[in-house]
């Protein structure tokens, strides 16, 4: 290492010095300039290559050298710069998840399941909620440049964006969305369970007039449920509502929509696109002096916590929210590990949960 060391650290010292005095850098709140690998190398009397090797364990390093490097790292509280590493490696060791809105237990649970597995696999996770903003495309593209792979929920962004992303070779996992390009997809089962739910209402309870609450254009999940709902009614020769009663996916909107609906007609059963709408609907019914389920039956979807505690207990369909996120995280990881097999389209099972809001049963569950 003779004179070389000196040269190295000197050369670098000059650079650093120049950088520090360099004007024009906006004054961020950052104060204590982090140590760089050059400083560590200088202190340990080795080259930066060796420091890197010690830290990453990519090549044998003599014990004596290693420990010198390690103490230098320690003394300087050195933490390698993530962006420099990413730039050099061409990887981020991070992946993202995009959803239309984080509100509501559904998205929260999905993100939880995702984060847990991703963290386990050593990947950082970036979240982006588009909130239906106009700038969604831009935001997603920006996110894309920070990650190695992306999970996208529902119809957050258009097919063109997906195609663009896929075209860049960015591994994608789509959730609750129709397959696009070469991306993997995960969703939970909708058709069979929506059929089972509707059949239960028609055949076990004998209801003959229905309404469906919820938007069916913003999500593949709900449009599938709506379609299954209709087909069961049609097959049973029960009047089929022309269209769903539009309503966004929160409680207040469910309450308002149900209130308006119940003042006009009086369907015997309200099938709602998710639990929050359903809970809002129950509230609206009670405000109008209608008893649930005796005057009007109500069902939800998801089986969120409040569904279990509400009065009456809400009949709903449980979907494996965390598992959806977890599956996506695992699949993305496989892709990033080099799996180039055909896209997979996973459908996770759901479960009909009968409680009191849809009517009284023989063996009451609640």
């Amino acid at each position: 290492m003779k004179a070389l060391t000196g040269t190295t650290s000197d050369g670098r010292t000059v650079r650093r010095g120049a950088a520090v005095t360099r004007p024009g850098r906006e004054a961020t709140a950052r104060v204590g300039r982090d140590a760089t690998i050059y400083q560590v190398a200088a202190r340990a009397g080795v080259s930066i290559a060796t420091v890197s090797r010690v830290l990453r364990g990519t090549a044998p390093v003599a014990d004596a050298t290693r420990s010198r490097v390690l103490s230098a790292v320690d003394e300087l509280r050195f933490t390698p710069s993530r962006s420099a590493r990413s730039l050099a490696e061409g990887q981020h060791a991070a992946n993202g998840i995009v959803f239309p809105d984080l509100s509501g237990p559904y998205f929260a649970e999905v993100v939880l399941g995702y984060e847990e597995v991703a963290a386990e696999l050593g990947r950082s996770v970036l979240v982006l909620s588009t909130h239906g903003r106009q700038a969604a495309r831009q935001m997603v593209m920006d996110l894309a440049s920070r990650v190695d792979g992306l999970v996208i929920l529902g119809r957050t962004v258009g097919d063109d964006v997906l195609a663009d992303l896929a075209g860049r070779g960015l591994p994608l996992v789509l959730m609750a969305r129709d397959p696009v390009a070469s991306a993997d997809t995960v969703s939970s089962e909708n058709t069979a369970s929506a059929r089972a739910l509707t059949a239960h209402l028609v055949h076990d309870h004998g209801y003959r007039s229905f309404a469906y609450l919820g938007n069916t254009t913003t999500s593949r999940d709900t449009s599938q449920r709506w379609a299954a709902f209709r087909s069961v009614l049609r097959e049973a020769k029960v009047p089929v509502p022309r269209a769903p009663t539009p309503c966004s996916f929160d409680e207040e909107d469910g309450r308002v929509a149900a209130d308006r609906l119940l003042r006009r007609k009086r369907p015997r059963a309200l099938v709602c696109a998710n639990d929050e709408i359903a809970l809002g609907a129950v509230m609206a019914a009670e405000e109008l002096g209608l008893a649930v389920p005796d005057d009007v039956a109500v069902t939800g979807w998801d089986d969120v916590m409040a569904a279990r505690h509400s009065r009456p207990g809400l009949t709903t369909v449980r979907q494996p929210m965390r598992e959806l996120g977890a599956w996506a995280a695992r699949r993305l990881h496989e892709r990033l590990a080099g799996d180039a097999s055909e896209p997979r389209h996973e459908v996770l099972p759901t479960q009909l949960v009968q409680r009191a809001s849809c009517g009284h049963h023989q063996k009451e569950h609640q």
Copy 2:
């Protein structure tokens, strides 16, 4: 631009070529190599500096040049590399949020409020849930190297980690945690509302025997509530429980803890550290054939959705969960914008929500 252009693009072309053929790069799933600023520059017949200027708008560029660059960008579907930009700028344009666990409506709402504001301010957000993992320190440090600022909830990590982070000049906002170093903090009001809640139970309802359910060591919030609860009892000369009944913050644990407790003693009122525990406790009471609130009163904290829908309605204290996240995001942004003023310690107001689970009132809130 004469021969210069040629030189530039050539020189770069050689580099790129070398990079592409360069062996050893692990085969990630990435396929379609993204375009770089060099290719855009070559195509538009300008230097990379000009491309950068067009894209960032940092200096005047002739209209003709600008449009040539823009078309090149378009044709090549160029998206600047985020890591290169971060490295050059010394900034990430991202910030992170760390919490012990994402489960439960509380954390979900905080994160939502945070994400919404951060995104609005043009910052990407990284989330990290430590899940009480051993590697928490490592994970947080890793996260720290990817962001310009960090929000940390509760006692996720030790003071030493915080000091280290702060020492590096990383702006920090602490939530629901005792002030440390020079970090800003936000929390919601605990003492006054816990006093009001307890006083209501003692004075308005006249209860004389109490239990407190929930861990008080893992969070400043709950330990403050516990302290306030005790002091009101002491002042009212009501027997004070020696210690809280330990119980983690989920429903199932609440149910189990309450079940065990109610089989031994029979406190007249159960004050719970959050709504989930309370809901679990209500369930346990009912399973034991006890009526809520007639045999045993129960109160929660947070006012999550299920609290409103449960039977009986849960008396609780509403805390501005989203606003906590939003405040943190805004404060962090101010810090990053250069605000170097004294650390702020914000306390957001809460609100006592009286429903039926604590006993019957004159004017029933339901």
